[in-house]
């Protein structure tokens, strides 16, 4: 047996069979071009010299011996910080299909060692729960056929827009109209909203691509798509541009970027679509935001009014305020006032069993323009793994409960509910969104789906990539490093945004037509929903079908 001292091992020594991804490298195909090693975002692979024994047999002398050859090969690192993240960039750049990551079917032992130096694991991405979601399982089963000619999704006209903003009860609307009093502002928008992803989290190219795509949808296709900024403001040229009307500005507990926004108000050509006040985020409830120092580039530092290269944590709560009720009340009022009561202001909270009490509070607040509930399947740029995996509330039942609460009070038309968190997680974006709409949402916010579909984000639900927090994004989506974000062409992102929205628009019609709906978005049309799970059906108060 080999002596103990000569074996190089420590408690956290792992071999590549212990890691989530194993890099398969075919030496016979490799030409040693080095592209894979240079693109790998985490330096999981390296070129290295190896020595190989060549058996040597001297027949005449009847002697056996060895020769040695040196060669350059590619090897996988096994230390935690360089473990392969399965992004697949190496295979994407390899000209000879010589390298690829494969998911390890063995257990992932790196999970036991990811907390080196007492640092709890932080990552970007999503919750890492794969498989069909409850939303994926909801079907639209009330086909209007018995007495009707069904609608034709291609030929008929469909109204697919929704309303964002406080809606008065009809009696009150008429009273105020007659008296010439203030009517709360509303917006007619497309019900699939690009959810808040901050200008710091996203690269400038990604942001520009999204904005270009959104502008095209509005101005050329007539699909009134809006996008939310996330915390951290908005570039000044956008604030002063006519595109601002497609943008929901977010204010969060760090108040980053708001100096710039407030200063730009006098020069704004139009009002923003809305103001979103972030109280919580589905992926990491109770956690503030965190923009790591390496993402605080010169531009970001200027937008946010902070020094370059420092960590930018947003506290979990809005510091200046005593309770959420007071906070919601004051902030909504302040924001409404800042924009002359012409812009809807609404809070975003994380999915939670306490969502109903926030909602009831809003119902009594005449300035509240809606409520966005973000379920736990949502994504994020950076959070503790534990928060992402284990805290929060799934969106479906949370949203449904809140909607039914409004129904019981007869207020369901007054405070539009928006839902987020895991919509399109498995690609079924329209189906997931429409299911939520029929459960009572006025619209949905989609973030991860947009990153995946419009920019080719590599993240998935089994831990692939998810290094958004490190500024290493191999696709250039969530990095402020010009070397990385130049990989992303804003025009191509814009094109994909347009592709995505044209498709969602068609698919909405394809769902609405057989239900016999065309005049208005089928918000709360729960009689059209069925699910193959008894307990879920009961909880959501929809039909059980099998």
């Amino acid at each position: 047996m080999v002596s103990i001292q000569s074996v190089c091992t420590s408690p956290s020594s792992l071999t590549y069979h212990d890691l989530p991804w194993i890099v398969q490298h075919r030496e016979d195909r490799c030409t040693l071009c080095g592209r894979c090693t240079s693109i790998c975002p985490v330096q999981a692979i390296y070129l290295t010299y190896r020595r190989q024994r060549m058996p040597k047999l001297d027949i005449l002398q009847k002697k056996r011996g060895s020769d040695y050859r040196h060669f350059v090969g590619i090897r996988q690192r096994t230390n935690i910080e360089n473990k392969c993240i399965g992004c697949g960039m190496c295979s994407m750049v390899c000209p000879n299909e010589a390298i690829t990551p494969t998911p390890n079917s063995n257990e992932d032992r790196s999970l036991f060692h990811i907390n080196q130096k007492g640092e709890a694991w932080k990552r970007g991405g999503r919750r890492n729960v794969s498989g069909r979601t409850i939303l994926d399982r909801i079907i639209f089963d009330r086909i209007s056929m018995l007495t009707d000619p069904a609608l034709d999704a291609g030929r008929h006209e469909f109204s697919t827009s929704t309303i964002l903003g406080r809606i008065l009860p009809p009696e009150e609307f008429l009273r105020r109209k007659a008296a010439g009093e203030w009517i709360p502002p509303t917006r007619e928008i497309f019900p699939f909203i690009i959810g808040s992803m901050s200008f710091g989290a996203l690269s400038p190219n990604m942001w520009l691509g999204l904005l270009q795509g959104v502008a095209y949808c509005n101005e050329v296709l007539g699909i009134p798509v809006v996008m939310a900024t996330g915390e951290g403001g908005c570039p000044p040229w956008v604030l002063k541009s006519p595109f601002l009307k497609y943008i929901i500005l977010q204010i969060a507990s760090g108040y980053f970027g708001w100096d710039e926004i407030i200063r730009a108000i006098p020069e704004m050509q139009c009002d923003p679509a809305a103001i979103e006040i972030k109280y919580g985020q589905g992926a990491k409830p109770g956690d503030g935001g965190l923009l790591m120092w390496f993402k605080v580039s010169k531009l970001i530092a200027r937008l946010r009014g902070v020094p370059e290269g420092v960590d930018l944590p947003s506290p979990p709560v809005h510091q200046t305020l005593y309770s959420i009720e007071e906070s919601v009340m004051k902030m909504i009022q302040t924001m409404s006032m800042a924009f002359g009561f012409r812009v809807p202001v609404y809070p975003k909270i994380s999915g939670s069993t306490s969502a109903k009490s926030v909602l009831n509070n809003l119902v009594r607040n005449p300035y509240a323009g809606g409520l966005l509930i973000d379920g736990m399947d949502g994504g994020t740029g950076a959070a503790y793994n534990i928060s992402m995996d284990a805290t929060g509330h799934p969106i479906a039942s949370n949203l449904r409960e809140c909607y039914l609460d409004l129904v019981a009070q007869g207020r369901q038309n007054e405070i539009p509910l928006f839902a987020a968190g895991g919509i399109g997680k498995n690609g079924n974006v329209t189906q997931n969104g429409m299911a939520l709409i029929m459960l009572g949402a006025s619209g949905v916010h989609i973030g991860k789906y947009i990153m995946q579909s419009t920019a080719g984000c590599l993240g998935n639900e089994i831990g692939r990539c998810n290094v958004c927090n490190l500024g290493l994004c191999p696709k250039g989506i969530t990095s402020q490093n010009p070397k990385l974000f130049r990989r992303l062409d804003p025009d191509e992102v814009a094109q994909r945004v347009v592709d995505v929205y044209m498709t969602i628009n068609t698919e909405i019609k394809k769902i609405m037509a057989p239900l016999g709906r065309s005049q208005s978005l089928p918000i709360g049309m729960s009689d059209a929903l069925g699910i193959d799970d008894h307990a879920a059906a009961e909880r959501l108060q929809i039909k059980y079908v099998c």
Binding site: S144, P149, P170, V407, Q412, N413, R517, P522, D527
Partner: protein, 379 residues
């Protein structure tokens, strides 16, 4: 598809006329039901005073009838006339019809005379009796309690129901008759699910399917307005929306169309009342109907109206002459009701139209949603 027919005329006529017109459109029914609403009533054997409320319904047991009598007496209503139909048994299937009730009452002495209080009181009587029936296994069904209005609903082939009740005998006549054959087949068969639906003098009936039924029903129910209940049929919400627009929002009749099938934004942008109508559309967003529908309604002042869904996916025709007009799902229905008219003046409303026959019946008013209308309170 169901078939609808309405006739309105200066001289009272027998409801049987309308039933024969329905026969002309017969491929449309499956014989699952008949609903009739008569307005502007004339009884052959009773000198009816036009402000006396008439109770319409069915008592399925003797006991129910007794309870009804006790209730009405308790409320101070005095029975003035009890219409006895000339019943021929065995034509309709249902066996448990103890008595088809058409009864005229005299208001309680000292009842608050204001119009609003009276309307509330009449509705309360209907709702109380309906609940009483529901609490007793459905042994009492009450359709309306209102002056000048008689309602008959029964399961069966329309003409057969007319024969069973002897409606051809001319003992009841009316100036307005609404009739609908076939129940809503989407939900359960139930007498209350038979069109027309009625609330405080307002009645509508529909040919079609309201696919936005559930969200609308939830919204109306949440309003907690007395009488907004039932919803055994998806079409009942049309009646309540009309009631809500006229009685609760106190808006003119034209607004009904703007509430149930609002114009789209680009159309409202160029509408003279676009700003108001956009706001109204948002505020009444949950009342937007969907699906193919032709809605026919009548009001207490004997106004009749007809509106289509936004895609005009259901047929309906109007024809007539000064003094007599008819709405029907098919032109042959109009022919049967008013043969002596100028057919070239017949009208088939499009998606933007509301056809109104005013109480004087001199003309048919075709109002388009694109036109301006008188809006008293819109600033």
């Amino acid at each position: 598809m169901c078939r609808l027919a309405l006739k309105t005329a200066d001289t009272p006529f027998s409801p049987y006329e309308v039933l024969t017109a329905m026969e002309a459109m017969q491929e449309g029914f499956d014989g699952s039901g008949l609903g009739l609403l008569l307005r502007g009533i004339h009884f052959d054997d009773f000198n009816y005073r036009i402000d006396q409320p008439i109770l319409s319904g069915i008592a399925h047991t003797e006991e129910a009838l007794q309870r009804l009598d006790e209730y009405m007496a308790g409320q101070g209503y005095e029975l003035k006339y009890d219409h006895e139909f000339t019943i021929t048994r065995g034509i309709v299937e249902a066996q448990d019809r103890e008595k088809y009730i058409i009864r005229v009452y005299k208001d309680p002495v000292g009842a608050e005379p204001s119009q609003e209080a009276t309307e509330q009181r009449y509705m309360q009587v209907r709702l109380d009796l309906r609940r009483d029936g529901e609490e007793h296994g459905g042994d009492l069904t009450v359709f309306s309690f209102w002056p000048q209005v008689v309602m008959i609903k029964e399961v069966g082939w329309p003409l057969a129901v007319g024969d069973a009740l002897g409606l051809h005998d001319g003992r009841i006549k009316a100036r307005v008759v609404m009739a609908q054959g076939r129940q809503n087949t989407n939900y359960g068969i139930n007498l209350y699910a038979c069109h027309p639906f009625f609330i405080q003098g307002i009645a509508t009936m529909t040919n079609g399917e309201n696919t936005a039924f559930v969200p609308i029903k939830e919204w109306l129910t949440g309003k907690q307005i007395p009488g907004y209940l039932g919803y055994q049929s998806d079409s009942e919400v049309f009646t309540h929306i009309l009631h809500y627009v006229l009685k609760k929002l106190k808006l003119p009749l034209e607004t009904y169309k703007h509430v149930i099938t609002p114009l789209k934004t680009s159309e409202l942008d160029v509408h003279p009342q676009g700003d108001f109508l956009k706001g109204l559309r948002t505020a009444c967003r949950r009342l937007i109907i969907d699906g193919p529908n032709a809605v026919i309604g009548t009001l207490p002042d004997e106004t009749s109206l007809l509106v289509m869904d936004h895609k005009k996916m259901r047929p309906a025709s109007v024809g007539g002459r000064p003094g007599a007009w008819a709405f029907a799902s098919e032109i042959c229905g109009v022919d049967a009701l008013i043969p002596d008219r100028d057919r070239s003046l017949d009208f088939q409303p499009m998606r933007e139209h509301t056809v109104i026959i005013p109480p004087h019946r001199k003309e048919m008013v075709i109002w388009s949603q694109f036109n301006q209308f008188a809006l008293p309170q819109a600033a």
